[in-house]
């Protein structure tokens, strides 16, 4: 019943709306995105761009007052998770799709030891061989550089942020899920712990043969671990392609702006240029036309009225009128 190989994921035309006093506002406006089996895909974007909403959609877990209004999320071996309900959905979560929370979040019950919560997890998913589950957990934790026995006997408050995060990764993997979603896994961790966690994510990904999705707002994290990178803005994937290409030769004006905003370790700090303007919030996302046009240096007339359709060419997908019109991308002056 559990897959032993990495599943592919196809998100198609996914629209998620949040109910507000001003009516239902779209957090995701028709997102399409494919995760190739066995790859690590990163999602980057500013706060409020819909990254976490997209990540939660992979478990059909968009939190109220939000709801999936339209679209499908096809996961190999599981089908369209948007249509799963009740017990079927509960059993898919954890067993087929593992989810790792932000490090800063307290994702463990403060009143129970890690080991007892692991047993709760095993029982919830009808595991008969609980000793084997404990053994797996210990070896996973050992794999991540922790003393498994000690950690299983610990309460959440006895663990450091980095340790908790590794426990979170263990809990996402221990049931043998082959699709793992990590939502800002290194936010709020110090640089050394962050590097360790990223190394673990990459190693475990390869060892176990997973399909991994990492949500982050840190371009450095994305560059370090991901094979392919999706850039989100205003509830849309504006650019998607192999990480080296997206970062090395960005096509969408937003991606270009993001990359120019990264300060360099050496050289003048003023070399980094912040994007002008602010990202749209749920209430200010334009209902027609391109969501990025207000901040876009390449804005043309059609941007005001028509939402650009993502166009795929050479494994790169870009949603931009200005880029789409040109056979070869032209770098505008201010980015040269």
């Amino acid at each position: 019943m559990t897959r032993t190989s990495a599943p592919g994921v196809r998100v198609d035309d996914l629209t998620v709306v949040y109910k507000t006093p001003a009516g239902e506002l779209p957090a995701l406006g028709g997102v399409s995105l494919s995760l190739a089996p066995g790859t690590i895909t990163g999602i980057v974007g500013e706060s409020g761009s819909g990254k976490s909403t997209l990540a939660l959609s992979l478990l059909n877990a968009v939190q109220s007052p939000g709801r999936i209004k339209n679209g499908t999320v096809e996961i190999d071996g599981l089908g369209n998770i948007v249509e799963l309900k009740g017990e079927d959905l509960r059993k898919a979560r954890g067993r087929q799709v593992g989810y790792v929370f932000q490090a800063a979040q307290n994702s463990l019950n403060p009143l129970k030891t890690v080991g007892k919560q692991l047993l709760d997890l095993g029982r919830s998913h009808d595991f008969d061989d609980l000793p084997a589950l404990l053994k797996d957990a210990r070896s996973l934790l050992g794999r991540m550089g922790l003393d498994g026995g000690r950690v299983l006997d610990s309460y959440q408050h006895e663990l450091s942020g980095g340790m908790r995060q590794r426990v979170g990764i263990m809990l996402a993997l221990v049931l043998n899920a082959h699709l793992v979603v990590l939502d800002e896994p290194t936010t709020a961790l110090d640089m050394i712990t962050q590097a360790a966690i990223l190394r673990i994510v990459r190693e475990v990904h390869h060892e176990r043969g997973l399909t991994t999705l990492i949500v982050t707002h840190d371009m450095g994290v994305a560059a370090e671990v991901t094979d392919s990178l999706a850039v989100m803005y205003g509830g849309r994937v504006v650019e998607h392609g192999p990480t080296t290409e997206v970062l090395g030769a960005p096509r969408h004006p937003y991606t270009k702006g993001l990359i120019r905003a990264i300060p360099r370790l050496s050289g003048d700090i003023d070399g980094a240029t912040a994007l002008p303007g602010r990202p749209p919030t749920l209430g200010t996302i334009p209902l027609q036309g391109c969501v990025f046009r207000e901040r876009c240096p390449m804005r043309i007339a059609v941007c005001d009225t028509v939402d650009p359709v993502p166009v795929t060419r050479d494994a790169r997908t870009v949603a931009c009128h200005a880029v789409g019109r040109l056979a070869t991308p032209v770098v505008p002056k201010e980015y040269a």
């Binding site: 463990l108 009143l111 309460y155």
Partner: protein
């Protein structure tokens, strides 16, 4: 184990200090209430025509002693008596020890109030969970409103309503007294049945009067826990509903635990209004009567029992808290 002993001894030392402070305060306050029963008796006898000497002798014989000496020496005598476990002699029922009177009143208070408190706790906590989970629905609204309403109505109003409904409009239960005198006290069916019959309305009143507080406290506690990250995490890991419910309930009930322990301590104060209305000879009624009669020793004794009970309840709550919350367990060493 060592830390438990150290904690306990610290608690005990603090508890004793607290008891001493309350005892001293109540001693000073009680002696400063206007009215002096011994002097009243003495003057009454003189008015009846006794000579002052004879009146003094008669009063001393009645109470077993005559208050002499300064307030300070009385205080030292009182404390000395307490240390030896002697609460003194009652003034309003001469010749009876305070401890005996309190002991016989306590049994009429503790069982009904304990029953009422536990009943309302269980009911309030269970319904509080539903009120929190269904807080945007009609059932949740109804439960919350019932909680606020009962929480807002004073005990004695509830008591009177209960009497009106079950003793007057629909006379199925007795409206007062602890038991029918026609039955022989002891472990026999009719006597116990009568006890239960008489206790039903007071217990119902206690339960109704405190139920509102529990349901409101539990509702807000559950609502807070529901918003905690680990609940969503457990949900996304596919934890079963039963386990999820236990996670929520156990975390939400923690803050209520202290309140429960304290209200169990308050048990020994009796419920003054309820006992007066139901003419139930418990500690609350005893306290009211002793104040009316200026029975210093009995007043002091009732206050002392209440203080000790609350201090013990506090210590018990603290120790039990460490058992149910691992974060407190190591709190002192960390």
């Amino acid at each position: 184990m060592k830390t438990v002993v150290r904690r306990l001894s610290g608690h005990l030392a603090r508890g004793l200090a607290m008891i001493w402070v309350v005892t001293t305060l109540s001693f000073v306050i009680i002696r400063n209430i206007p009215g002096d029963p011994v002097r009243g008796q003495y003057e009454k006898l003189i008015e009846q025509g006794m000579s002052p000497d004879a009146a003094e002798r008669a009063t001393a014989a009645l109470y077993g002693f005559l208050p002499k000496g300064s307030l300070w020496s009385q205080y030292v005598d009182y404390l000395n008596g307490l240390i030896h476990g002697n609460l003194g002699q009652s003034l309003s029922t001469p010749g009876t020890g305070v401890a005996t009177i309190i002991g016989s009143a306590a049994k009429w208070t503790i069982l009904p109030v304990l029953g009422g408190t536990l009943l309302s706790f269980l009911l309030g906590v269970t319904l509080g969970v539903y009120a929190a989970v269904k807080r945007s629905g009609k059932l949740g609204d109804a439960l919350s409103i019932s909680g606020s309403l009962l929480h807002g109505v004073p005990q004695y109003v509830i008591a009177l309503l209960v009497v009106a409904v079950f003793s007057t409009l629909w006379p199925i239960l007795p409206s007062g007294g602890p038991v029918d005198i026609m039955f022989t006290p002891g472990f026999n069916g009719p006597y116990i049945a009568s006890l239960i019959q008489h206790a039903t309305l007071p217990v119902l009143t206690y339960a109704l009067a405190s139920y509102g507080g529990w349901i409101l406290a539990m509702k807000s506690s559950v609502a807070t826990v529901l918003g905690d990250d680990f609940i969503m995490a457990a949900e996304l890991r596919g934890m079963s509903r039963g386990i999820l419910f236990r996670y929520i309930a156990r975390n939400a009930i923690l803050p209520l635990f202290t309140i429960l322990a304290l209200s169990l301590g308050m048990l020994f104060g009796g419920a003054i209004f309820i006992e007066s209305i139901f003419n139930y000879p418990g500690l609350g009624l005893l306290l009211v009567n002793s104040i009316g009669a200026r029975d210093y020793a009995l007043m002091g004794g009732t206050f002392l029992v209440l203080t000790v009970a609350i201090v013990i309840a506090n210590i018990a709550a603290d120790l039990l808290y460490a058992v149910i919350d691992p974060r407190v367990r190591k709190g002192e060493t960390a």
